[in-house]
C-alpha cells in the first residue's frame, strides 16, 4: 500500500506583502479600466465625464503610487520572502529554479514542477520590471495631470501647478515669471513624450495582467502549493520533504 504524502500549510507571505498585492491589484484594475475608457472612447466622452474620469484616475493613481512605493521599500526592508534577493536568480538554487521553470514550460508542463518557497525566480525579474514600469507610469501620469488645465481638483498635492515658475522668495528680482516662452516650448515636448510613454505603459500593464493571471492559474493546477489562497492567508502547501529541501 502506498504511503499517503501529507501536505501541510506553511507560512510564506507576510501580511503587508499580501495587503500590498491586493492593494496594487485593485488600483491597477481601476486604473486600467479608466485608462481603457480614455483610450478607446475618448471622442464620445462628454467634457464633464472626462474631467470626472481624470479626477478618479488621478486619485486612484496616487493610491496606486503609494502601494508601489511601499512595495519597493519592502523589497529592501521586508522579510526574506518579500526581499528583492528572493526574486532574482543570484544563488545556485535560485538559478536552478530559473532554468527548471523554462524547461517545465518548454515541455508543456510535463514532468516535475520546480520547487521554490516564495517567488519563482523566473517570474521575479518580471515583477521587478513591473515595479519599474509602474514607477514610470506614476511619474508620467503626474506630469500629464499637472499639464491638464481643466478639472484641477486632483492637483491638490501639486504646488507646481498653482505656482508657475521657480523664482524663490529669496531671489531679489522675484517676478514669478522667468523664461516662460522657452519653458512652455519644452513643456509641450515633454508632455507629448509623457503621453506616449503613458500609453505604452498602459499596454505593458495589460500584457502583465494577462501573463500574471495565466501563469498563476497554470502553477495553481500544475503544482500542489495552492498559491492563490496563499495570497489571502499567507500559507502555501508543502510536504515535509519539500519543506526540508527548501529550508536547507
Amino acid at each position: 500500500m502506498e504511503a499517503q504524502v501529507e501536505n501541510k500549510l506553511r507560512y510564506v507571505w507576510d501580511p503587508l506583502l499580501r495587503g500590498l498585492h491586493w492593494w496594487i491589484a485593485l488600483t491597477t484594475f481601476i486604473q486600467v479600466g479608466v485608462g481603457a475608457l480614455f483610450m478607446f472612447f475618448e471622442d464620445s466622452l462628454s467634457e464633464g465625464l472626462e474631467d470626472t474620469l481624470i479626477d478618479i484616475h488621478g486619485v486612484v493613481g496616487y493610491l496606486f503610487g503609494a502601494g508601489i512605493l511601499v512595495r519597493i521599500l519592502w523589497l529592501f526592508i521586508g522579510p526574506p520572502t518579500a526581499s528583492w534577493r528572493d526574486m532574482v536568480p543570484i544563488k545556485p538554487p535560485q538559478r536552478k529554479v530559473f532554468f527548471d521553470t523554462i524547461k517545465f514550460y518548454l515541455s508543456f508542463l510535463r514532468g516535475k514542477a520546480p520547487l521554490y518557497k516564495a517567488h519563482n525566480t523566473f517570474a521575479g525579474p518580471i515583477y521587478l520590471a513591473f515595479f519599474f514600469v509602474a514607477a514610470l507610469q506614476i511619474t508620467s501620469g503626474v506630469m500629464l495631470l499637472d499639464s491638464h488645465d481643466e478639472g484641477a481638483s486632483v492637483q491638490l498635492f501639486s504646488f507646481a501647478y498653482a505656482y508657475e515658475g521657480g523664482d524663490g522668495l529669496l531671489d531679489e528680482n522675484n517676478d514669478g515669471g522667468g523664461e516662460q516662452d522657452e519653458e512652455s516650448f519644452f513643456e509641450e515636448i515633454f508632455e507629448e513624450i509623457f503621453e506616449e510613454a503613458h500609453e505604452v505603459g498602459f499596454f505593458v500593464f495589460i500584457f502583465f495582467i494577462f501573463a500574471h493571471i495565466f501563469a498563476v492559474l497554470v502553477h495553481e493546477f500544475a503544482e500542489t502549493h495552492r498559491i492563490i489562497f496563499a495570497m489571502f492567508h499567507g500559507k502555501k502547501r508543502f510536504t515535509d520533504e519539500e519543506w526540508k529541501e527548501l529550508e536547507k
Binding site: 504646488f159 498653482a162 505656482y163 522675484n174
Partner: protein
C-alpha cells in the same frame, strides 16, 4: 574597540533608531527650521510688498475722486487708471505667491514636522514587528522631506525642479497614514493598570 563601543552607549543611541526615535528627532529639528523660516523669509517678503500695496491704494483713491468729479481737469484719465490696474494685478500675483502658497508651505512644514513627532511616539508604543516600524518610520520621513521639504526648496529657495519630487512625499504620507492606521488596529494595546482601590 572604541570606548563608546565597549560601554555600549553608541549602541543605545542607534539601536531602535527607526522604531520611531528618528521621527521624533527629525520632527523637532525640522519644526525649528520651519519656525525660523516663517519670520525670517515669509514675513519680510510680505513686508517688502507693502509699499507697492500702498501705491495701489493711493492710485485707486485717485480714480474714486476722478469718478466723483467726472475727471474734471484731468487731461488723460488713463494715466490715473493705468497704474491702479497694474498695481492691483501685481498685488494679486504677490498674494498668489506670498499669501496662499507661501503660507501653505509654512503650514505644511509645521504640520509635517508635528506629524513626525506624533508618528514617532505612536511607533514607539506599537506592539508590531520591527520591520513594520522601520518601513512606517521611513515613509513618514520621506513624506516630510519630499513634500514640504521640496516645497520649501521650490518656493522659498527657488529650486524649480524640486516641485517634481513632491509626488514622492505626497504618496509616502498617504501610505504611511493608511498603514499606521492598520498597524494601530492590531498593535495598539492598552497597558494594564492596577485599580487604586
Amino acid at each position: 574597540m572604541s570606548s563608546c563601543e565597549s560601554s555600549g552607549k553608541c549602541k543605545s543611541f542607534f539601536h531602535g533608531l527607526f522604531h520611531g526615535k528618528i521621527n521624533i528627532i527629525f520632527g523637532f529639528i525640522y519644526f525649528a527650521f520651519t519656525a525660523i523660516l516663517g519670520p525670517a523669509v515669509l514675513l519680510p517678503a510680505k513686508g517688502d510688498h507693502r509699499p507697492a500695496h500702498t501705491q495701489t491704494k493711493n492710485a485707486v483713491e485717485d480714480i474714486r475722486k476722478g469718478l466723483s468729479s467726472g475727471f474734471a481737469g484731468v487731461e488723460n484719465p488713463a494715466m490715473i487708471v493705468g497704474p491702479a490696474v497694474i498695481g492691483i494685478m501685481n498685488h494679486i500675483e504677490t498674494e498668489k505667491k506670498l499669501g496662499t502658497i507661501g503660507s501653505a508651505v509654512h503650514a505644511h512644514g509645521n504640520l509635517e514636522s508635528l506629524l513626525n513627532i506624533v508618528a514617532g511616539v505612536v511607533l514607539l508604543m506599537l506592539a508590531i514587528p520591527v520591520m513594520y516600524k522601520k518601513i512606517l518610520s521611513i515613509l513618514f520621513l520621506m513624506g516630510a522631506i519630499f513634500h514640504s521639504g521640496m516645497l520649501y526648496l521650490g518656493i522659498v529657495f527657488g529650486v524649480g525642479f524640486a516641485f517634481k519630487f513632491t509626488i514622492i512625499g505626497a504618496i509616502s504620507i498617504v501610505a504611511a497614514l493608511l498603514l499606521t492606521g492598520l498597524a494601530c488596529i492590531c498593535g495598539l494595546k492598552e497597558r494594564k493598570t492596577e485599580d487604586a482601590h
